[in-house]
């Protein structure tokens, strides 16, 4: 069967090989083995061609199945049909041309390709839906420089009727994000960094270090909403305790610093994990050289170990900031929702970008005209994604540019 379906017949030279080959080729042994080393694989153009054919076929199928009057294409259905047709087509052709094992291999290979494409679809879709509406919202005058003070249902109704563009902005949310994240960073980075220094430099695998490693793992798994609950509950208990002592305190626990506490619970384990990893890769020779020069341990750590690992540490800290700046749930529970700029994290409610997005989507300013609110939310989402991706990019750049040379000696 292999012989008969082979379209490209191999040249005698390729069959013979270095040893000269066996003649005649119709012995049983020659039947078992392929005609040449590349004999029983599909040509390179096979998969693209098969994919193209199945895309076309499924397109035709979707058009045929759809309504005759209005020419609309269901893209999801198109993808599903194309994937199925591609899988079946490639399997059947390989089965006929080569053999069952190759066909099975082909089937799974295509299934993996389909899975990969499937994973990319939501990424593309999310970025597109954010970018299209969000960019439009960004071009509104004063979007970055004004807050939501004085924006209400009638403002949005006016927008909808074309009296003016979308008003209101996210200045207060950006400031809130900055203040809360900065406070959380100021708490988390020293604690996290010192802990990883303890784990790497001081502890020799004692019970304390094992306990810390274990509980840092536990902390990594804390759901963000539980961290928010902790922040709110702890601050409420603390305030009522302070109040009973007669210390003047704000009446409600909802304020920026509560959110910062909740965020640091989420941030500390990330900082510990990343910095610990970075400190561990610092070669021991450097430490020993420093000790040999008579430098004390704490100076060795500060002047030799940390500078060597600083790029990784900076990258890790940046990544952990990127992680917490997108958190919504803990801040929703701890900092409330404000419409104007509040610089003071110890008094009054604060808004961050994610909470602003959440509020604009769940409680649009106008009960029926959702578009202005949604546009503000998408624009804020665009800013947020740009911030997070920018931080990720910065972390990568720091890690690669300032990385210590590996072969420094």
């Amino acid at each position: 069967m292999i012989e008969s379906t082979q379209t490209k017949n191999p040249t005698p030279a390729s069959v013979q090989g270095p040893a000269g080959g066996h003649e005649p080729p119709h012995e049983p042994a020659a039947m078992l083995r392929p005609n040449s080393l590349t004999g029983n694989i599909q040509p390179r153009w096979f998969l693209p061609a098969c994919a193209a054919v199945s895309l076309l076929l499924s397109f035709a199928l979707v058009v045929l199945l759809g309504d005759a009057e209005e020419f609309s294409i269901n893209w999801a259905l198109w993808f599903v049909f194309a994937a199925v047709i591609h899988l079946v087509l490639a399997y059947v052709i390989t089965l006929v041309r080569i053999n069952r094992r190759k066909a099975k291999d082909m089937f799974w290979r295509n299934l993996i390709y389909v899975a990969f494409t499937l994973a990319l679809l939501p990424l593309v879709s999310v970025i597109m839906s954010v970018a299209i509406v969000g960019f439009q919202g960004l071009t509104n005058a004063g979007f970055l420089t004004s807050d939501m003070q004085g924006i209400n249902a009638s403002t949005d109704a006016g927008t909808q009727e074309g009296e003016h563009g979308v008003l209101g902005g996210i200045r207060h949310a950006i400031i809130g994000s900055l203040v809360i994240t900065l406070m959380a960073t100021l708490v988390s980075v020293p604690i996290g960094l010192l802990t990883s220094i303890y784990l790497v430099e001081y502890s020799q695998g004692g019970p304390l270090s094992r306990a810390i490693t274990f509980f840092v793992d536990v902390m990594t798994g804390i759901p963000s909403i539980v961290a928010g609950l902790f922040g709110a509950a702890a601050m409420a208990s603390f305030l009522s305790f302070a109040d009973s002592l007669g210390i003047p305190v704000p009446g409600r626990s909802t304020m920026g610093v509560t959110a910062a506490i909740a965020l640091s619970v989420l941030m500390i384990p990330v900082v510990v994990r990343t910095t610990e990893e970075m400190l561990r890769v610092v070669p021991n020779e450097l430490r020993e050289a420093s000790y040999a020069l008579g430098v004390r341990k704490w100076r060795t750590i500060l002047k030799v170990v940390i500078p060597t690992a600083i790029s990784g540490i900076a990258a890790g800290v940046t990544l952990s900031i990127a992680r917490v700046i997108g958190e919504t749930a803990p801040i929703l529970l701890t900092a409330g929702f404000a419409t104007r700029v509040n610089w003071n994290p110890f008094e009054g409610w604060m808004t961050t970008l994610p909470v602003f997005i959440y509020q604009q989507f769940t409680r649009p300013m106008h009960p029926t005209y959702h578009d202005p609110s949604f546009q503000r939310a998408w624009a804020a989402a665009l800013i947020l994604i740009l911030i997070v991706m920018g931080l990720n990019l910065i972390a990568r750049i720091i890690a690669t540019i300032f990385a210590p040379k590996k072969t420094g000696r």
Binding site: K104, Y113, L123, V126, Y198, K297, W298, I325, G326, T328
Partner: protein, 343 residues
């Protein structure tokens, strides 16, 4: 305190722990003179580092303490308005909590059913199918999925994905309506628990993918090459060497994804229009999860009220569930590490 302690090289080999320098002081070594500040700093720094480590334990103890302390009010409180009638209300709390626990489990299971196979496929693509030069950057692209904040996923699921899925729900209801989970009247808005599960699956995908990818790459090259040399196709090589080697890693990756899915708030709260528990997963206004219940009720609840305590108690339940799942995952990983096929 500045530079001269580095010159006190007399006992540098002993200064690795600050305590030993004391003995050299006692002997009156001249090189140790002026070293007292250095030794103190050494000890101080070590103490600071240890204190930070202990600080983390204290913080976690605080988390547990405040959650438990404030949860107490949920099961032991007054009857409405009567100050002296404090009593246990465990049954009340359980009847409030179990639909939320079930809802959380349903949405997580849906998310994992979708995400796990796709994630394994993507990880295999990155580790064994993609052109080697591109596989690194492809990994970055998948990591981008993890970089998008959850509220953005929620918004995407609510405004874009949910309406797209309505025809599918109608179809499922029409042809598979006799199965209870597809029964009832399908949602006209698409804001159902299954949509929330789909959005969640996108969010847990990068986690499972990265764990699986790490493990797949570690498959011993000798095993792979031996399989290929015996004439196995690439898929046969994967089933014979990669998958058996990575089984523990795959399971733990899925468990970590489960831990994330259980605690995820924003995607569910934005997508799902919540309500009482029901069999059908394609109806609107049904089901609710623990995080989404907390997020939508906590900001409105009065501090110290029974409802407030109840929400914290539910949060504690969630914390315990996630903790168990994560610990199970790590246990599987550590068990796998000991007798993996690598050595």
């Amino acid at each position: 305190m500045s530079s001269d302690e580095s010159q006190s090289s007399g006992q540098t080999l002993q200064t690795r722990s600050g305590r030993r320098t004391r003995s050299s002081e006692a002997t009156g070594n001249s090189l140790a003179s002026g070293d007292r500040a250095g030794a103190g700093l050494d000890r101080g720094f070590a103490g600071l580092a240890r204190f930070a480590g202990i600080g983390i334990l204290i913080i976690l103890a605080f988390v547990a303490f405040f959650l438990v302390y404030n949860s107490w009010g949920a099961i032991y409180h007054d009857q409405d308005g009567q100050a002296d009638s404090a009593s246990f209300h465990i049954g009340e709390f359980i009847s409030h909590a179990w639909p939320l626990v079930i809802g959380t489990l349903i949405v997580s299971v849906i998310a994992l059913l979708i995400a796990a196979p796709v994630a394994i496929g993507v990880a295999l693509y990155i580790s064994h199918y993609a052109p080697p030069r591109a596989s690194r950057s492809i990994g970055y692209v998948i990591d981008l999925l993890a970089a998008i904040p959850s509220v953005v996923y929620g918004a995407w699921g609510m405004t874009f994905l949910a309406p797209q899925l309505v025809p599918l729900y109608n179809w499922l209801n029409e042809y598979l309506g006799w199965i209870p989970i597809f029964g009832g009247s399908p949602s006209p808005t698409g804001r159902t628990i299954i949509t929330a599960g789909v959005v969640l699956s996108v969010m847990v995908l990068p986690i499972i993918t990265s764990v699986c990818r790490e493990i797949f790459i570690q498959t011993p090259k000798l095993h792979e090459e031996a399989a290929l040399a015996l004439g196995a196709t690439r898929w046969e090589m994967i089933t014979m060497t990669v998958l058996p080697f990575a089984r523990g890693g795959i399971i733990s990756g899925i468990m970590l994804g489960l831990g994330r899915a259980l605690g995820e708030t924003m995607a569910v709260v934005l997508v799902l229009s919540s309500g009482p528990i029901a069999w059908s997963i394609i109806q609107s206004g049904r089901h609710d999860t623990i995080p989404s219940n907390i997020a939508s009720n906590f900001p409105e609840s009065r501090e110290g009220s029974v409802h407030w305590h109840e929400l914290i108690a539910i949060g504690l339940v969630l914390f315990v569930i996630t903790l168990l799942v994560n610990m199970l995952a790590r246990w599987i990983v550590s068990r796998h590490k000991e007798f993996s096929g690598a050595n």
